[in-house]
């Protein structure tokens, strides 16, 4: 496996059904001689999972036989939910988490169509724009009555 493939396969600590590549946090992997440098772009400024991500990427690369590993942060350009891949969006939906909508964030009363990840109904409503992690909002379905989480656009 290439260093990119190893790093790309590391699961996200909070959303373990997604890899760091699915999430768009893995910003690049460079192999230079015996040195591997992996670049991560944090999601939110205060995301506490970035420490785990960096440690996991480091450990996976070392376990794969790369001895000289450097994990670095890349802050520019900032992370956006647009960086979540199609595969990542599919895995989120399969796990019952509504994926973000492509495009810039829309604030205010603009009505967004968010499908219920349980029953597919479009009759959903936002309960709170803030949820269990920085990247999620809390929603509920008015048809099947199930609450669900949703990755909010940023």
């Amino acid at each position: 496996m290439t260093a990119w493939e190893v790093a790309a396969d590391v699961p996200d600590p909070e959303l373990p059904m997604l890899t760091l590549a699915d999430l768009g946090v893995l910003a690049g992997v460079e192999e230079d001689g015996g040195t591997v440098t992996a670049w991560l772009t944090p999601t939110y400024s205060g995301c506490p999972a970035i420490a785990e991500m960096a440690a996991d990427v480091d450990a996976r690369l070392r376990a794969a036989g790369y001895d000289d590993v450097r994990v670095r942060l890349r802050l520019d350009p900032p992370w956006s939910t647009d960086r979540i891949t199609e595969a990542g969006r599919r895995k989120l939906a399969e796990a019952g988490i509504a994926p973000p909508v492509h495009g810039l964030l829309h604030l205010g009363p603009t009505r967004r169509v968010v499908s219920c990840p349980q029953c597919g109904s479009a009759e959903t409503e936002e309960l709170s724009r803030f949820g269990s992690t920085a990247c999620k909002a809390l929603w509920r379905c008015r048809d099947c009555r199930e609450p669900f989480e949703r990755i909010k656009e940023i």
Binding site: Y44, L127, A134
Partner: protein, 293 residues
């Protein structure tokens, strides 16, 4: 592989560089600017940049500390979670800004050195962020003022000469958009609710309003860096007036809180509240210097 789930890595972690010293988020990751290019752009004064990063970083740190006081005390669980999320964003911004300050001033001091080992007169936050929360409406009022002003500032700083500060601002402006939206929606809801809720919201705005102007009062460091906050006064006041009027409330007419011999928060002159806040923030770090877990 043992890292398929985070809690497995915490309990097993064979061969981890941090070994058993890593059991919680954040441990073993001391540098929030890990590997980011720390070179100063030519022509930018390191001491001034450090001072400016402390001003903005202290604003965020102190307000984050105030917001988390709502944990277990908020009127509803959803609001508690929301306020904690806002605090987490601010704390993250603060960690990067304080770290940048230690790089820019050449001392190599880290975020913990700044957060835990400075006295109140060494903090450079505006007085707006340090006072007690008051009731929920007053908390919202302060958040409305701060997030509207900070959003406008970060928009401008996204093009700042220092690439690290610019990146923090570019990230932060998106987060502050959510903060401002949260504070705005609650201002409208309380203002347009019952007579009593409107009264409380009005009282909250009136209480914090005298502290607003300090955000627009330039410190010499800001002037030298070409970041005069007075430029924000007009647009931010207009935005606030629009929200407050839409909420059916009155824009307070209170005069700015007096400065002390011409000095205020940016000069290290604070109200008594900051010392009490810092005592709580710093007590564990000072009781166990250098402790790790």
């Amino acid at each position: 592989m043992t890292d398929d789930h985070v809690y497995l890595t915490l309990s097993e972690a064979p061969g981890e560089p941090e070994g058993e010293a890593r059991w919680a988020y954040g441990t073993g990751f001391a540098d929030p600017l890990l590997g980011v290019d720390t070179a100063l752009p030519p022509g930018l004064d390191g001491a001034d940049l450090a001072a400016y990063c402390l001003m903005l970083g202290d604003d965020a740190l102190v307000l984050a500390q105030r917001l988390i006081e709502w944990c277990t005390r908020a009127p509803e669980l959803e609001e508690e979670v929301a306020l904690a999320n806002l605090a987490l964003d601010l704390l993250g911004q603060s960690r990067q800004l304080l770290t940048r300050a230690g790089q820019a001033d050449g001392t190599g001091r880290g975020e913990d050195d700044f957060a835990y080992w400075r006295e109140d007169h060494e903090f450079r936050n505006v007085r707006l962020v340090e006072g007690p929360n008051g009731d929920f409406a007053q908390t919202i009022a302060r958040l409305l003022l701060f997030s509207t002003a900070r959003h406008a500032l970060y928009e401008r700083l996204a093009g700042f000469a220092d690439p690290v500060l610019a990146a923090v601002a570019a990230r932060g402006v998106k987060e502050l958009a959510y903060h401002r939206e949260y504070a705005t929606s609650w201002t409208l809801r309380l203002g347009g609710g019952t007579e009593y809720s409107a009264e409380r919201m009005q009282a909250g705005l009136t209480a914090v309003w005298p502290l607003l102007d300090e955000l627009f009062t330039a410190h010499p460091v800001e002037i030298r860096l070409g970041a005069d906050p007075a430029e924000l006064r007009g647009p931010v006041l207009a935005e606030l007036a629009e929200v407050i009027t839409e909420a059916g409330l009155a824009v307070p007419a209170a005069a700015p809180m007096a400065r002390v011999g011409g000095r205020a928060g940016r000069d290290g002159v604070h109200t008594e509240a900051l010392g009490l806040l810092l005592a709580e923030l710093q007590v564990v770090a000072r009781a166990h210097p250098g402790a790790t877990w």
